[in-house]
């Protein structure tokens, strides 16, 4: 008697596979282990075996290494990927690199985002990596779906994934003498990736470990702004300023605690949000805030 066919739904990307392989064919996640979820609801990104293979139509990709993983594409002649040029690690002679046209170049240049997106066309191998230890996230994007990614997190994407960006409207300003200084804790712009017609693959490199949480409608959580990796477009963002109580301890500690404030990003569901465990400190001199985007405030 033939054994009953078993299917497996990847708990990272939702792809249904035959369960024969030990890894998800669409994102490379290990499928024979239970999801690791903290009591607070954060799910660790599923483990990935070294040299995991992902099939992308006629092309394929392999993720190599564990500390600073490398995304090694084997591009078919008709396929291409795009990337920011400084993540290129190596390539074969046969892979042709060209510039990808992008709109809003001046706005991107002024806000510190990459103004050039580079495109590599097969046939041949080309590999990418970033410059700090962390995890490589392979995220299949289905038609009709979109994902918002914080600037400088993007590694590469297949050509079926469309790229756009939008204004985050997360900012505050301070005064330095007569000068007004504007601060953008998650950047002025955020990348948005969609798949208009066909499914595509998006690759993100995050620093440290990665955790994902599904927020219910109206559910809110505070995260460090630079810990944000990606979110569903349905998830909204707002600044939150928190001022700790002085706790006594004399004039000096009262003075310093008065100037101290914690800067948070309030994330409100519904939808997914992903954070990284290694993140840059947000620069905040503690100077009086002159103006800001919609925000909440808490004084203890």
């Amino acid at each position: 008697m033939q054994p009953a066919a078993r299917s497996y739904t990847c708990n990272w990307c939702g792809t249904v596979s035959d369960g024969v392989s030990l890894t998800c064919p669409a994102c490379g996640a290990t499928i024979n282990i239970a999801a690791i979820v903290t009591p607070t609801g954060w799910t660790e990104v599923p483990g990935r075996k070294d040299m995991t293979h992902i099939q992308l139509g006629k092309s394929s990709m392999q993720i190599e290494g564990l500390y600073v993983p490398v995304a090694d594409f084997n591009l078919a002649a008709e396929d291409s990927v795009y990337f920011t040029h400084h993540v290129l690690l190596w390539k074969e002679n046969s892979v042709n690199i060209t510039m990808m046209p992008m709109k809003g170049g001046w706005k991107r240049a002024f806000s510190g985002m990459p103004i050039f997106m580079t495109q590599a066309k097969g046939p041949g191998h080309i590999a990418f990596s970033r410059d700090n230890p962390g995890e490589l996230l392979a995220i299949p994007i289905q038609p009709g779906h979109a994902l918002d990614v914080r600037e400088h997190m993007f590694l590469a994407a297949t050509s079926h994934v469309a790229y756009d960006f939008f204004n985050t409207n997360i900012w505050f300003s301070t005064k330095n003498g007569d000068d007004t200084e504007y601060h953008y804790p998650i950047g002025n712009f955020m990348d948005r990736f969609t798949a208009p017609q066909q499914p595509g693959l998006l690759l993100i490199h995050a620093s440290g470990n990665v955790y994902v949480r599904q927020l219910a409608p109206g559910q809110s959580i505070l995260i460090k702004p630079t810990a944000l990796i990606f979110k569903d477009p349905s998830v909204s963002m707002q600044l939150h300023f928190e001022h700790p109580a002085s706790g006594g301890g004399g004039f000096f500690s009262m003075l310093t605690s008065f100037a101290l404030r914690y800067l948070w990003l309030r994330i409100t569901g519904p939808g997914r949000v992903a954070i990284q465990s290694a993140f840059e400190p947000v620069e905040d001199s503690g100077a009086s805030i002159y103006g800001h985007s919609p925000a909440t405030d808490q004084r203890w």
């Binding site: 070294d50 040299m51 293979h53 394929s60 392999q62 190599e64 290494g65 564990l66 500390y67 600073v68 993983p69 490398v70 090694d72 084997n74 040029h85 400084h86 290129l88 690690l89 190596w90 390539k91 074969e92 002679n93 690199i97 060209t98 510039m99 046209p101 170049g105 103004i115 050039f116 580079t118 191998h125 590999a127 990596s129 970033r130 410059d131 700090n132 230890p133």
Partner: protein, 278 residues
């Protein structure tokens, strides 16, 4: 059924060959006695032909000359050397982690000190001599690459990437030829060169992130980000390849890439030193 006992005198001595350093080991060995590579695991090779540097087990030990090296930790590994009397190792002094107080230290005499200093290379190479223990590590997540050098080998290494070498390896430096290579090659002006003559020696590198090696055939070439270069056999040629990327509005930019042409080994690191485009 009768079993014929083996005759030790007649049986050939079987040896396990290490796939990384080609050293011959006892059949019962789990790790190579010359480089520490696991002998009971298959090589990890990508579909594109890059081989991962062997993942050294925590606390693995291997030998060179009369001394031993133990690798401790896995995220930022430490090389702890137990130097025998008469053995010594040399290194850049800032990679020293700790040492026994009775291990004597001296400075290696190097030609071209001023040139090296101006080029940003270490102009002082320190030497530690046995007996005693001394340990080394670098300042970022990465892998220890153990390269036992057999007699007659020449190895070129990215500047500041070498952790230590045993005293029977000759150390020199190689000025990178061609103004274009110096200005755009991303390697600086010099590379370290390690040469063995009649004796074997041990060369230890620290690669940032993960380390991969590829053996290029004669004439075969691969293009790499210059900051990813870690080491190569001296037979491998390194040339600069400028990749022009143009757009109508901004005029474009140029990437300088390194073309490596075989024959020989090329090692790269995945967390590379980034060199901005012009």
């Amino acid at each position: 059924m009768s079993v014929i006992p083996p005759n030790p005198a007649a049986a050939p001595i079987e040896r396990l060959k290490c796939g990384w350093c080609q050293g011959l080991n006892l059949p019962t060995a789990l790790s190579c006695q010359f480089c520490g590579a696991p002998l009971n695991l298959k090589d990890v090779v990508s579909e594109s032909g890059w081989r991962e540097a062997p993942r050294l087990k925590d606390m693995v030990e291997f030998h060179f000359s009369k001394s031993t090296c133990q690798v401790e930790g896995e995220i930022v590994p430490v090389a702890e050397i137990n130097l025998a009397q008469g053995d010594s190792v040399y290194f850049e002094h800032h990679v020293m982690l700790w040492k026994d107080q009775n291990v004597p230290m001296q400075v290696m005499q190097l030609p071209g000190g001023m040139k090296r200093m101006l080029a940003g290379m270490p102009f002082i190479i320190s030497v530690a001599s046995g007996p005693g223990r001394v340990a080394f590590s670098r300042d970022a997540t990465g892998e220890l690459v153990v390269l036992p050098l057999h007699p007659g080998m020449e190895m070129d290494v990215r500047e500041h990437a070498f952790l230590l070498a045993s005293n029977n390896i000759a150390y020199s430096y190689l000025r990178i030829k061609g103004l274009r290579n110096i200005l755009f090659g991303g390697q600086g002006m010099f590379m370290d060169r390690f040469v063995t003559t009649n004796n074997s020696g041990l060369l230890l590198l620290h690669g940032y992130g993960n380390v991969f090696e590829r053996v290029l055939k004669p004439g075969e070439s691969i293009i790499i980000e210059p900051g990813a270069f870690l080491y190569k056999d001296s037979t491998v040629q390194m040339n600069v390849q400028m990749q022009q990327l143009t757009t109508g509005l901004f005029g474009g930019t140029a990437m300088s890439l390194a073309q490596m042409v075989g024959p020989g080994r090329v090692g790269i690191q995945s967390m590379y030193v980034h060199h901005s485009t012009d």
